[in-house]
């Protein structure tokens, strides 16, 4: 293991905590995006609690690193991380999606302090991130922009417009992350819209591709550090993950892309994530 075991253990605990937060936020009887939240939990924990430079009390701090949730439907995961990081009180999580709430169904830059991009209409986050990467280059900062995409999402053509453009502009400060959990809303990606060899596709578009196991914290941290050293091209971290990771009945199924918990499954989820 390359990284200090204490750090890895702390971040793994945080990933677990984020999963618990998501379950508690959802509660019983209301659909929530468990699958895609749980597959990205290690990466989001590593970014918010180790890698990124930011100030939760000054969310617009100049020169900060930015996290963009292009797969905006797993906003609950980002909200959990932001609450744990202190952007807003954790109690706000209890009011997610309520009328008038700070936390909307999809990320909203005006309502939620620290949200960097309004996403939800899929396929747009990488372009927004590219704009930020170019903007920070003009501003002369060394800040980084991390864009988390879903593997289903990248069927959107705009992703590839942005991929081509970022390679053209050689934005080394733009790091794309694809959560390759192999499922989209209505089934497995292979059966719905097979995206083929993702590593080869991104490489062909001019990106440095780093493939990892997205649930191995050591590999997650290593990929993020390697991205800092990329020269003359953007970096794509292709993380192979398990949809619903950490919750036995939600793993590797589209049923919990946006699923509902019963009293029993809710209790079981909290038990498994204890």
């Amino acid at each position: 293991m390359k990284y200090d075991s204490e750090l890895v253990s702390k971040l793994n605990s945080m990933a677990n905590q984020l999963r618990r937060d998501v379950i508690e936020m959802m509660g019983v009887g209301v659909a929530g995006h468990i699958g895609g939240s749980f597959s990205s939990a290690e990466m989001v924990a590593a970014l918010y609690f180790h890698k990124m430079r930011y100030d939760a009390k000054n969310p617009r701090m100049a020169g900060r690193d930015r996290f963009l949730l292009s797969k905006g439907h797993v906003a609950v995961l980002q909200y959990a991380a932001m609450a744990e990081a202190g952007f807003f009180p954790k109690e706000e999580l209890d009011h997610c999606k309520e009328l008038g709430a700070m936390l909307q169904g999809h990320p909203d830059i005006l309502k939620t302090p620290g949200v960097e991009a309004g996403t939800g209409s899929l396929g747009q986050g990488l372009s927004i991130g590219l704009g930020m990467a170019l903007g920070e280059r003009l501003n002369g900062t060394d800040s980084k922009v991390y864009v988390l995409m879903g593997d289903g999402e990248i069927a959107e053509g705009q992703i590839w417009e942005a991929a081509m453009a970022a390679a053209n502009f050689k934005t080394t400060n733009l790091i794309g992350i694809v959560d390759n959990n192999a499922f989209q809303a209505t089934g497995s990606i292979k059966e719905r819209m097979d995206s083929g060899d993702l590593a080869a596709k991104w490489a062909a578009f001019g990106w440095r591709v780093i493939e990892i196991d997205g649930h191995c914290m050591d590999q997650v941290l290593d990929a993020l550090d390697k991205a800092d050293e990329t020269v003359d091209q953007p970096t794509l971290i292709l993380m192979h993950t398990v949809k619903g990771k950490g919750l036995s009945f939600a793993e590797n199924t589209a049923a919990f892309h946006n699923g509902i918990l019963t009293e029993e499954t809710y209790a079981q989820a909290l038990k498994e994530l204890a």
Binding site: L110, G118, Q124, S127, G129, G131, G135, Q158, A165
Partner: protein
């Protein structure tokens, strides 16, 4: 500077603004020679982003730049700026009130040769329907230049409709563009014509032709949104009726906006515009405008039909 085209005014004014304001950046989707954003590239290559033929990406990249304190101006033909990139303009730029400026160039039927695919009759309706969006439609080059300055000062998303044709300006060079302020171009008492873009010129022509018969007031409504409802009402008050004139579908554009403003006034309104159909190719702009009834003659007839 005195401009004889709106698109030249756009390019030149961006260059002028960019000299003082280093936050201004320009993005283009391979139409810079038509939209004239290429002038900005020549002046400030480091602040110009050629995005290739990818309007959707361009709009979202502009959103990202705005988040870093830049004032991005994106340009394309109006039909692509408002149509191809609609979702990006709606989702990211407008919901977040980001400071992105959108130039819809070669608007209306002014790209006369290219036909229905490139002519746009619906951008004002589309842009007007998006919350947080400001919508401007200047009448000539000088007004366009001043509108570009006003939108650079304005905080928030803004759409500028720019015509492709070359013709002399009647707007004074130094007349500041005030967003939301309709401009009375000619006083009159019987009928008021609210017009935008090149149709302001047609309306003035119509008013002159009718001067011995009917007193026609002509108002340039170069801000479609926010529309100054109170001023529209007070300008119409006392008249026998209203005519609107626009190089756009009669649905959802200036006609719709004026009718909404006058919803509690009991007076007839006639709409001059494209009658809910697409454009087509023609060898010259005037032939096309005549074929679609976007003429002073149409306005004369509409005014007469109101006075009876």
């Amino acid at each position: 500077m005195n401009f004889n085209s709106q698109r030249n005014a756009y390019g030149e004014t961006l260059v002028e603004l960019g000299k003082e304001n280093k936050d201004i950046v320009a993005l283009e989707a391979d139409l810079g020679k038509s939209t004239m954003s290429i002038k900005f590239q020549q002046a400030y290559p480091e602040r110009y982003f050629e995005m290739g033929i990818a309007e959707q990406n361009m709009a979202s990249v502009a959103a990202g730049l705005a988040c870093c304190g830049k004032i991005p101006f994106i340009s394309s033909f109006a039909v692509f700026a408002s149509g191809r990139a609609f979702d990006q303009i709606r989702q990211t730029i407008s919901i977040g009130k980001l400071n992105v400026k959108i130039c819809g160039s070669s608007s209306g039927l002014s790209d006369f040769g290219d036909g229905a695919t490139h002519q746009d009759v619906e951008d004002l309706a589309i842009m007007r329907a998006i919350p947080n969006m400001t919508v401007l439609c200047p009448m000539d080059g000088n007004e366009a230049a001043n509108a570009v300055k006003a939108m650079a000062e304005h905080q928030g998303p803004c759409y500028l409709r720019v015509n492709r044709a070359s013709y002399d300006s009647i707007t004074p060079e130094d007349k500041p563009f005030v967003i939301g302020q309709p401009i009375v171009m000619r006083e009159g008492t019987d009928v008021v014509v609210f017009a935008c873009g090149i149709m302001v010129l047609k309306a003035l022509e119509a008013a002159e032709a009718l001067k011995d018969e009917i007193s026609v007031k002509v108002v340039n409504v170069s801000t479609l949104k926010p529309l100054n409802d109170e001023m529209i009402i007070s300008l119409a008050k006392g008249c026998k009726g209203v005519v609107t004139a626009e190089e756009h579908n009669v649905l959802g554009g200036l006609g719709g906006a004026v009718a909404e403003a006058l919803r509690r006034q009991c007076m007839p309104i006639e709409f001059i515009g494209v009658k809910d159909k697409f454009g087509c190719s023609a060898h010259n702009y005037d032939d096309l405008l005549n074929a679609y009834g976007l003429t002073a003659h149409s306005i004369v007839n509409a005014v007469r039909s109101i006075v009876g």
